[in-house]
């Protein structure tokens, strides 16, 4: 590079940078700061007090928080693994088969991940609707009336309804990533395996999964963060966290505390806790998948 056009660089970069600082960096810093204060809608910059870690300590005495944390943990244990399992199977079936219409299946499986989560939430509310719902209707058709539930209305099942919607909308998304990675594996590897007499299952287990380990690691991290984040919208739309908090999740409890109760300080400590948890989980799962590689 010869002479740097300083003015040009400044004009191109400074407005973008200022907006990023104003609407991303400063709110982020504010979130951290507020989490150490007792700020509410009633307090002003003068009256709010710096209270150190008090919010973070109070959290663990707050039964609703513990419930939301537990629910989030349950989702994190189940949703990413099940989603990625289906994604991998779909990707494998669609790349290995010679079926003519496989592009059609890919489009169909991918579609739920591009639509509005509000729509996903509503559609699945009707799947689980106790009187009109698709699921209970199917159970009745199969003469399995004793398995019918009020689903979203029962504390035992509500969270898993949210989980089902999460899996349904995300499976196709990760499938697309896997298809791209599998396309990167040389055709010859599979052909060689076929000559050695490997069946579909063996090919999947011995070629696809090991060679995709890195992609699986990345998608697992994305799925963890996606589950934490998207469960907010779904839980808000489908159950509003109910019944009695049985399907509340961390970010949704943060929203309730912040927007409904106007406890900004406490709400932000929940946000920061959740963010920290997401980062730690991401780092751990990256470490694990990397170690296995070497």
């Amino acid at each position: 590079m010869k002479k740097k056009p300083t003015l040009f660089i400044a004009v191109c970069l400074i407005p973008t940078l200022l907006l990023t600082i104003g609407l991303m960096v400063i709110p982020m810093c504010n979130a951290v700061y507020l989490s150490f204060t007792d700020s509410t809608a009633l307090s002003t910059a003068q009256t709010r007090q710096f209270i150190g870690l008090e919010n973070y300590i109070y959290m663990f005495k707050d039964k609703s928080f513990i419930q939301a944390l537990g629910n989030t943990m349950k989702l994190l244990l189940v949703v990413p693994v099940v989603t990625l399992f289906f994604s991998l199977i779909f990707a494998f079936l669609l790349t290995q088969s010679r079926i003519r219409e496989k592009g059609f299946y890919r489009s169909v499986f991918f579609f739920p991940s591009v639509i509005s989560l509000t729509v996903v939430g509503i559609i699945w509310s009707f799947v689980f609707n106790p009187t009109k719902g698709i699921l209970n209707h199917i159970l009745a058709f199969l003469k399995l009336e004793n398995l019918q539930h009020a689903w979203l209305g029962e504390s035992k099942t509500a969270l898993w309804c949210v989980a089902a919607a999460l899996i349904w909308q995300a499976a196709g998304y990760y499938m697309v990533m896997y298809i791209a990675s599998i396309d990167g594996i040389s055709e010859e590897v599979y052909e060689a395996a076929a000559i050695d007499g490997a069946g579909a299952f063996q090919k999947f287990k011995c070629i696809t999964v090991p060679l995709l380990r890195n992609t699986i690691g990345i998608t697992y991290v994305l799925a963890l963060s996606g589950t934490i984040n998207l469960s907010f919208t779904l839980s808000n739309v489908m159950t509003a966290g109910g019944p009695n908090g049985a399907s509340s999740v961390l970010l949704q409890y943060m929203y309730t505390q912040g927007m409904r109760n106007a406890n900004y300080g406490y709400s932000m400590s929940i946000a920061m806790f959740t963010l920290l948890m997401a980062i730690i989980l991401a780092v751990i799962s990256r470490k694990v998948t990397h170690n296995n590689e070497g």
Binding site: F8, C12, L13, M28, R98, F126, H137, M177, Y255
Partner: protein
């Protein structure tokens, strides 16, 4: 030979049955909603699975007029167009400069944007609400669009940066020898070369803006200024107590149609965008 073909056919059909089973799981809820959207309330309440006696388009009219979905639709169209426009205006020059020049701070800025990719707007929705409230920007769709655009800066800069770095510099140098100014080169040479990258970002972010829920929930409180996902969620909430089910289903289909159209047109760009390093939510 014949036996081999038979076996392959059998395998294909087994596979097909599995795939069709999943297709039903993915598609049936949509079809069920579509059918319900053309039924009368009584038809829905007596048997939600029967086909309607005739097509009741008035559900759509009700959704547009009585349930305000028409206004929400226009609000969302405005927000999507404006935020994609703003995003491009701010992101293309910034990404170009970051890709082509090394200067004091350029590394730090690139790292900042990389780090911000993982910051989901949901985490900062309350500080954003407080900040926007302070500048009297609540219930302002232009402000909402600007916030949307900024939230996608990291992803868009990251994607474009990679794209521009992969372009040969020859065209830019040739234009410079011909006496082109920096801005002229950016607009007449770089932007046309970046078209595929820009198209991908436009597709992905436009879909995201159309569907965005958390920020619209806190930044818009005025009923008339709602965007369509919030309007629909609210309509769904209200329907639990009211009785106009048809309008609710129609509203849902109204939200889906633009997404479906963009999906059918731009699927290639969307798929590319996701393999580049996707975003969602």
């Amino acid at each position: 030979m014949n036996e081999d073909r038979l076996r392959r056919n059998l395998a294909n059909w087994t596979l097909r049955i599995i795939l069709i089973f999943f297709t039903v799981i993915f598609v049936y809820p949509f079809i069920w909603n579509l059918i319900c959207s053309i039924k009368t309330n009584t038809e829905y309440l007596t048997d939600p699975y029967a086909l309607p006696s005739s097509i009741h388009i008035e559900n759509y009219v009700n959704a547009f007029k009585k349930a305000n979905m028409g206004a929400y639709f226009l609000n969302s169209v405005y927000v999507v167009i404006l935020s994609v426009g703003l995003l491009m205006v701010f992101v293309i020059p910034a990404a170009y400069v970051l890709a082509r020049y090394r200067f004091k701070g350029s590394k730090v800025i690139t790292t900042l944007y990389m780090a911000c990719i993982f910051l989901q707007p949901t985490y900062i929705m309350i500080p954003l609400f407080l900040e926007v409230q302070k500048i009297n920007g609540l219930n302002n769709l232009t402000v909402l669009s600007l916030v949307y655009a900024v939230m996608q800066f990291p992803f868009a800069i990251f994607t474009l940066l990679g794209f521009i770095e992969a372009l040969p510099t020859g065209y830019e140098e040739a234009a410079r020898i011909d006496g082109g100014t920096n801005f002229g080169i950016l607009i007449r040479v770089v932007v046309p070369l970046c078209k595929p990258g820009i198209a991908t970002i436009t597709m992905l972010t436009a879909m995201g803006f159309w569907s965005e829920y958390p920020l619209a929930l806190v930044l818009v409180t005025d009923e008339l200024k709602r965007t369509i996902p919030i309007g629909l969620a609210n309509l769904f909430e209200v329907q639990k107590y009211a009785t106009d089910w048809g309008a609710m289903f129609a509203g849902l289909i109204i939200v889906l149609i633009p997404t479906l159209i963009i999906y059918l047109i731009g699927q290639k760009q969307l798929l590319q965008g996701i393999t580049l390093g996707g975003i969602k939510g």
